[in-house]
Amino acid sequence: METIRVFKSLVVDSFDAITQGTKIYHLWMAFLTFVMLVGMYCYSIQIEEGLSVTGMTDSVSWGLYISNFTFLVGVAAAAVMLVMPTYILKDIDFKQAVLIGEGLAVAALIMCLAFVVADMGGPSVLWHMLPIVGVFNFPNSMLTWDVIALNGYLIINITIPFYILFRHYQNKEAKSKVYLPGALLSVFWAVGIHLVTAFLYQGLQAKPFWNNALLGPRFLASAFAAGPALIILILAIIRTYTEFKIENKTIKKIALVVTVAAQINLIMLVSELFKEFYAPTHHSESAYYLFFGLHGKNALMPWIWTAIPLNVLATVLLTFHKLRNNFKVLFFACFILFVAIWIEKGFGLIVPGFIPGPYGKITEYTPTGIEIGVTIGIWAMGAFVFTILARTAIGIEIGKLRYKKK
């Protein structure tokens, strides 16, 4: 009973925290709501007409939605890069950032699930995937592994921070024997979710562009580069706009994580390029299409040739201590790294897998307005969810939101 009362009070208090704020805050939330409404409108068109309103065809059957899904699973997995040092290595510097990281993981996961549902042809029969009322093709289908992995990770990342915040809300200490096993589990689970998502593609012998051993590790490396990069940018914003204190050394340590991950990512990229272009086979056609165009079709070239130089530039900037510790340079590098990896993992991975098709046919893919509308709507939803979570969490952590016994 007591718990429920406290809980109700938490809900009310956080609702207050969310609906009150500065003008900028309200503008931000209004903007996000507007974009979400645009997204919802576009999605309603898609539900009505079918997926023919998107740019996807029988030749390129996965496009913008799945690209974003793939990328965001990585972002979600990146929370582990904060959880692990905090709870396992007991590094005090990360403690402030870890709840933000887990909040980001929740928002990213919700976005992932939204993208998957948006991409489906029959969302109203999603219940077919449930184990008992439907058929759950586990363990054959990697998609089922992904369903378990993503939802499990979502549960962990909701329950563990919720427990900690709930305790702090009541001015009590969070018991480590309650949250530590969950945190430990989430470390392994985070690696798991992204590996499983990579295996979705890696296991398809029909798509030689994906069917290589490096895809899983590459996913992890790029995730641990892009995710913490986003976290750094978010922490910077939080530092500026709220009373939440984040020390410089926290950001510097996260930056180190981003740097190492970005370097490993580049090494893996080099390895992939070598394999494709040193002794090109029929299987290298997709890489040729992506980097150099094939038979005059070269729609993806500007994308990849933006992504790779940005990636290299960001990694180089981050490598040098002097540059990395200069926060202006750091934020810039993180931003371009995030964008570069978004392109690389999205358009640079999913779409070229389908081009050329199984019989060598080249059909290019361009997302339609509706697809883009739904995509930005879902991104706005993610930002919205994250803002809400962060605001509550920050409120509790700085002591503003506290349970007052009546």
Partner: protein
């Protein structure tokens, strides 16, 4: 009818129904109100049971379940209403039962017959026309296989045309299960430079022709990856799809190395007079948007002892269909006496579609 199944389903629904109905204050059943605070608002339904039971994002689950519940609720209300006509009630009843039936592969013969009867009746109510849908199971001692004579194919495309006529594919997107590739002599099987969209007099000088379609692999990658088992390999070797069970994720399409599968990006439309009324549940019955479909070796014909439409239509006899288990079949003779090969053998998919030349 399917009393037990219905009860079982509705039991489950009731529990989730109870939990979902109170949660959206703004009254919208699908879509979202911008003021929703998803994570915080859903905490009251805390109960770890709710969380562990549903294996998806609650918001999406809520959206989709209520969409389908809305259909069901609408159906129920029309069936219970005293003002709605008998036909509307019947249609609503059929729609309700069809929405919540299970996977065809797991159905008993009686359940299969029931769903087929419902579909036939539903079509009759909607269009006033009669069709017959078969739920014929695989016969014993039958394993279907296919052989294609490359020397004989002249590129006439009678097969493509017959297939479309037979299988009720969407006319708007000109969906074709079969592709005929025109290749240049002397370059071998160069798919990259093949043309599958030619339109000139055939056979063209210096070219040869061969066709591809679903090869009904014996180790099908598409079956492996389907998250809901909407596609599977039947006892007689045919790889089939339960169109009503498919969720439209298109993972199978990514997994197929042979461009065998097609997706209904919009609602498939066939002009009434061109609809083939002899249908099979797993074959050429009318599909809906958002589901996969593919060549089924004309299951509605082959299980009755007829040749698939493409085999029958080919004027040169380039296509050979038969029972791999029958040692006296012409197909077995071809496999034993001609130099046969299959496409992409190294992928380990074991297609049951062989190519040979004279």
């Amino acid at each position: 009818m399917s009393e037990n199944k219905k009860k079982w389903f509705s039991l489950n629904l009731n529990s989730t129904k109870k939990q979902n109905s109170g949660s959206c204050g703004c009254g919208k059943t699908s879509g979202d109100c911008g003021s929703h605070n998803p994570v915080v608002k859903e905490k009251p339904k805390d109960g770890f049971e709710q969380v562990f039971d549903v294996k998806m994002d609650r918001r999406s689950a809520f959206k989709q379940l209520t969409a389908s519940l809305a259909i069901g609720a609408g159906a129920v209300s029309t069936s219970c209403s005293m003002l709605a006509g008998d036909e509307t009630k019947e249609k609503a009843q059929i729609d309700w039962e069809e929405q919540f039936k299970g996977n065809y592969k797991l159905m008993t013969n009686e359940e299969k017959k029931d769903t087929v009867d419902r579909l036939v009746r539903s079509y009759q109510l909607r269009t006033g026309k009669a069709i017959n849908i078969s739920s014929e199971n695989a016969k014993k001692d039958v394993l279907f296989g296919y052989a294609f004579n490359i020397s004989k194919c002249q590129g006439y495309m009678d097969c493509v045309s017959a297939c479309v006529e037979e299988n009720n594919q969407d006319r708007n997107s000109e969906m074709q299960y079969i592709r005929i590739h025109e290749m240049k002599d002397g370059k071998g099987f160069n798919f990259n430079e093949a043309d599958d969209n030619y339109y000139h007099e055939v056979p063209a000088e210096g070219h040869f022709y061969m066709g591809t379609q679903c090869f009904h692999c014996d180790n099908p990658p598409c079956v492996e990856v389907c998250p809901v088992n909407a596609t599977w390999r039947e006892e007689d070797g045919l790889v089939v799809i339960d169109y009503d069970w498919c969720v439209g994720c298109r993972y199978c399409m990514a997994a197929c190395p042979y461009d065998g599968r097609r997706f209904n990006w919009s609602t498939p439309e066939v002009p009434e007079e061109e609809v083939n009324k002899n249908q099979h549940y797993l074959g050429n019955r009318m599909r809906k948007k958002g589901v996969m479909e593919k060549c089924t070796f004309c299951v509605q014909r082959s299980r009755a002892g007829q040749n698939p439409a493409c085999v029958e239509a080919c004027p040169t006899g380039a296509r050979i269909f038969g029972n791999l288990l029958d040692p006296d079949s012409t197909l077995r003779w071809v496999l034993e006496n001609k130099k046969v090969f299959r496409l992409k053998e190294d992928l380990g998919t074991e297609p049951k579609f062989w190519y040979f030349m004279d």
